[in-house]
Amino acid sequence: MDLDLILYFLNIPWVFLLWTTFLKSFIFLNLTIIVVSVTVFAERKVSAFIQDRVGPNRVGIPFTLIGGKKDSFFFGLGQMVADPIKLLTKENFVPGGVNKFYFWLAPKLVMIPPILVLAVLPFGSTLFGVEMTIANLNIGVLYIFAIASLSVYGITLAGWASNSKFPFLGGIRSSSQMISYELSMGLSIIPVFMICGSLNLNEIIDWQVVNGWLVSPFWPKGFSVGSLLHPADALHAFVAGVSLQRLLLWIPLLISFVIFLVSIFAETNRLPFDLPEAEQELVGGYHTEYASMNFALFFLGEYAAMFAGSGAIVSLFLGGWSCPLIPDGSHGWFWGLVNIGVFFVKVSLLLLFMIWVRWTLPRFRYDQLMKLGWLGFFPIALFNIFLTAVILALVRN
């Protein structure tokens, strides 16, 4: 085989698309799994710190005990590997009386949607000229909503198929929870589309690169490292970035940011809205009867959903992979990698925030959640849309 021939073959447009997509999916999926296991560890560690405990600190890196009585535990980092190994090697116990088919299907249904959501998240700008989105869909955000709401089926099925009262209650709660947040979640980000004029996540991020992150009230346009050295330029950039319309739009955008953030908490079944799980009331909620890797899939699904949800928030409101003063991937592969890093840093910070909130707030009752969704967020989100429309129509740039 000739090297030129291989290169030629790899550069045929559809072949090129195929193998780059496969490579991107593979890398992004693995990065996500790593982030998930780190998040589980962070969850345990942060919860420990918040409760004045130490957290897991015993599992060291394997084989570092050679020749010494005291090995270094590296803050218990080995726990990240130990937890999955434990779950993988456990007996997969299936209780009698369950509906076997749906019992086995449910964990997969919980796991798959968050992973599918990853497909449209732009996790970087470009690397070697290849766009760092697995699928650049025009209906990106709609796709996220369509897929993400599917995971409730997995939970409800798990609760029903377990043939036991606590999982059943968890499943019911899950569906009652979904009808209370889903609507306001969809309505809350309509202002974003009105301002950016697109449903495509890549275009929303491109808009934010030029005009600034959607959660900020003003943005120094054309601010760069070079202008830092010239105070006059920097001042000019700041002044150019302040406009009345942007300042007014900040109010509805902040409202929609808060509503969307809270809805993502409900979507991912995190405290204060982890009604289907509710350890204190429902034993383990929908996954009470599950063991081993089936349980791990629920676990993985929950954390992957957290990752996907944070990714959506970052892309919609926090500028995605962009960061002020950092150029995009067209300036070389190094900056492309930095952009990917920026995306992951932002997502990690959001994940930390989710963990922090979990160990702070008590759980809502589900009538309270319904009340919050239907009487609180729904009217506010509707009003928010009109407010944005009025501002866009009356206040010109």
Binding site: V46, A48, I50, R53
Partner: protein, 176 residues
């Protein structure tokens, strides 16, 4: 009569939840910040750190046999502890003290004295019932062994763990 508890009237800020949420986040943040720098953590790292120095005097750990300051093993093999022991952890094989021994007038002493630590419930009844003040619960709590046989404390181990206990009544002195 039914008591009607009035629901508290919430202020506008309380109805919006967010101020309370932020206040809660501030509190947990304070704890998180403190704990990251290793301050305020209440956990004791067990095998490295122990609470032994703070153990109360009345702590009931492993039962042991004691000798007094005159070098006499105090047990007279009356077997009261064997009878009272609720989980039947104690097995005593008595023997007669041979002619010519310094403590011949005591007449009996244990030939074998086994306490099965896998059965012992640390109730302290043996200590209470002993007429000779020979058996005491000490502060050892970490009794380990690789098999069941190792978990049985024999006479030698029991005296080693118990050691010498001073200030006891010297009942079997020469004058009596």
């Amino acid at each position: 009569m039914a008591i009607v508890v009035e629901r508290p009237k919430l202020t506008l800020a309380e109805k919006f939840y967010l101020p309370a949420v932020l206040a809660g986040l501030a509190i947990t943040w304070k704890h998180l910040k403190r704990a990251i720098f290793n301050k305020g953590i209440v956990t004791m790292q067990y095998p490295e750190e122990k609470w032994d120095a703070n153990m109360p005097d009345w702590y009931r750990g492993a039962p042991t046999l004691v000798a007094d300051e005159h070098g006499k093993d105090r047990c007279v093999a009356c077997q009261l502890c064997e009878f009272i022991c609720p989980p039947r952890a104690i097995t005593i094989k008595p023997m007669e003290i041979p002619e010519g021994d310094k403590w011949r007038k005591v007449e009996k002493r244990p030939e074998e004295f086994d306490i099965d630590m896998t059965r012992c419930i640390y109730c302290g009844l043996c200590e209470e019932v002993c007429p000779e003040q020979a058996i005491y619960l000490r502060k050892d709590y970490s009794i380990t062994g690789l098999n069941r046989a190792e978990m049985v404390h024999d006479k030698e181990t029991l005296y080693k763990l118990g050691g010498v206990r001073e200030g006891l009544v010297f009942k079997w002195n020469e004058l009596k």
